[in-house]
């Protein structure tokens, strides 16, 4: 798709943007300007393109909590592990959840011990498993932000319409704007702008970020995933600082519109409603998760099975929480690169390719 991808990776455009960024950074004239990229895919893209080496030294990019795998708490993992151990259950899950550590185990370990855990690319694949295995219960681990939640809602709506009786979900979806608010409320964190997720925004629309300039007086730029996109967003955030006009801007205008995807929002609202939700490292954030509405309650696995999950706890010494808030960096963690590596991860930030710690580890960043 050259016109949508390769055209946004041209070095000559990067050079123009870097020059403009350097001019604006000088005009801003501060020792330090901090932007946060919320989304894990942006964290990886920033490393892959070497963005930090291209921008002036007084601009610092912090990674935020936009990695759904990273923020799924041990308790949710423990619950799904308990479900996967039950006889007659097919436990269906997105691939990057397999190695996330729960309190004592992981889905990968459970699978090795004989649990019927299967990786799916889409919740529709899990529904298909339910159709094809009528004598089993298929339980899908509903993880992901607003990019994924509508796909799961559509799958549940289909299950309801088709009268499927052996398909269940463990609801664990979370919402990005409340987490952004929680990060912005973090004491001692000075942010000058937010690089907002591109694909979550395709669903929720750029209007969803209006609360950021309104309440916190900093800019929010909805950003694509190629080098030109990220550099242009940094340029736009700097220009807002120079103009003194923090606002929502959509850099990723080829995909994102102010109102978002109404069909997706509609089905999400039909099936789910907001609830308080526990985020690994950030604690409980009000109205930041999704639970099934009463008319879809029959699909909730916790209603069907009486789970006795043990005391859940996060790993001792793991700094994922503070890293997800942008307060600390991977190199600050005593476990980073020693007890905690991609091969044997302790915390969720190291498990997934979109986790801040794994990105730092793989790209070997050492910065002062």
């Amino acid at each position: 798709m050259p016109k949508f991808v390769e055209e946004f990776e041209r070095p000559e455009d990067a050079r123009v943007l870097i020059r403009r960024i350097q001019e604006l950074a000088r005009v801003v004239g501060r020792d330090r300007v901090q932007f946060m990229e919320v989304c894990g895919t942006h964290t990886v893209a920033i490393f892959r393109y070497g963005i930090r080496d291209l921008i002036p030294g007084n601009i610092r990019l912090l990674s935020g909590p936009g990695c759904p795998v990273c923020v799924t708490p041990s308790q949710s993992i423990d619950e799904f592990i308990a479900i996967s151990r039950m006889p007659g259950v097919i436990a269906a899950v997105f691939g990057d959840m397999m190695r996330v550590p729960g309190t004592d185990s992981s889905l990968e370990i459970e699978k090795a011990k004989g649990a019927d855990v299967r990786i799916v690319y889409s919740s529709l694949d899990a529904l298909k498993m339910a159709r094809e295995n009528p004598w089993k219960d298929v339980v899908f681990f509903a993880v992901g932000f607003e990019t994924t939640a509508p796909t799961i809602a559509a799958t549940l709506a289909t299950a309801a319409d088709s009268g499927i009786k052996n398909f269940y979900v463990l609801p664990a979806n979370k919402l990005i704007p409340p987490a952004m608010a929680a990060v912005l409320e973090t004491e001692g964190l000075a942010l000058d702008g937010l690089i907002c997720p591109g694909h979550v925004s395709a669903i929720i629309g750029s209007r969803a970020y209006e609360f950021i300039p309104a309440k916190y007086r900093i800019g929010a730029v909805v950003t694509g995933f190629q080098s030109t996109d990220i550099l242009q967003s940094i340029y736009l955030l700097l220009r807002q600082i120079v103009d003194g006009s923090p606002r929502v801007e959509t850099q990723y205008s080829r995909l994102v519109v102010p109102e978002g995807n109404l069909a997706a929002l509609g089905v999400m609202d039909e099936v789910f409603e907001p609830c308080d939700s526990a985020w690994r490292g950030l604690g409980v954030i009000p109205s930041s998760g999704l639970k099934l509405r009463p008319q879809f309650a029959e699909f909730g696995v916790l209603q069907k099975f009486d789970l006795k999950s043990p005391e859940s706890r996060e790993a001792y010494g793991c700094l994922c929480g503070e890293i997800l808030r942008g307060k600390k960096e991977p190199l600050d963690c005593p476990l980073f690169g020693k007890a905690c590596t991609p091969e044997s991860p302790v915390g969720a930030c190291m498990v997934t390719t979109e986790g801040t710690c794994q990105a730092h580890y793989r790209y070997g960043v050492e910065r002062t």
């Binding site: 455009d13 889409s122 990019t147 709506a157 997720p197 242009q232 080829r254 995807n261």
Partner: protein
Amino acid sequence: MCLAVPAKIVAMTGDTATVDMEGVRRNVSMMLLPDAKVGEYVIVHAGFAIGRLDEKEAEETLKMIRDVLGSG
């Protein structure tokens, strides 16, 4: 998981479409994008088309960088 991928719709039947992603064909659900048409470009995530890519907007974005920022 913002790992969504651009794709071109090459065929549609009901609420399923066949898309072309860099030469690879796969079926995706169009339940979240019911008004999309064959020939349009979409972003695909977890088996669903979730948004439409606008060529004109893409050109405008690049024009802004090349013609406006690039001059002077």
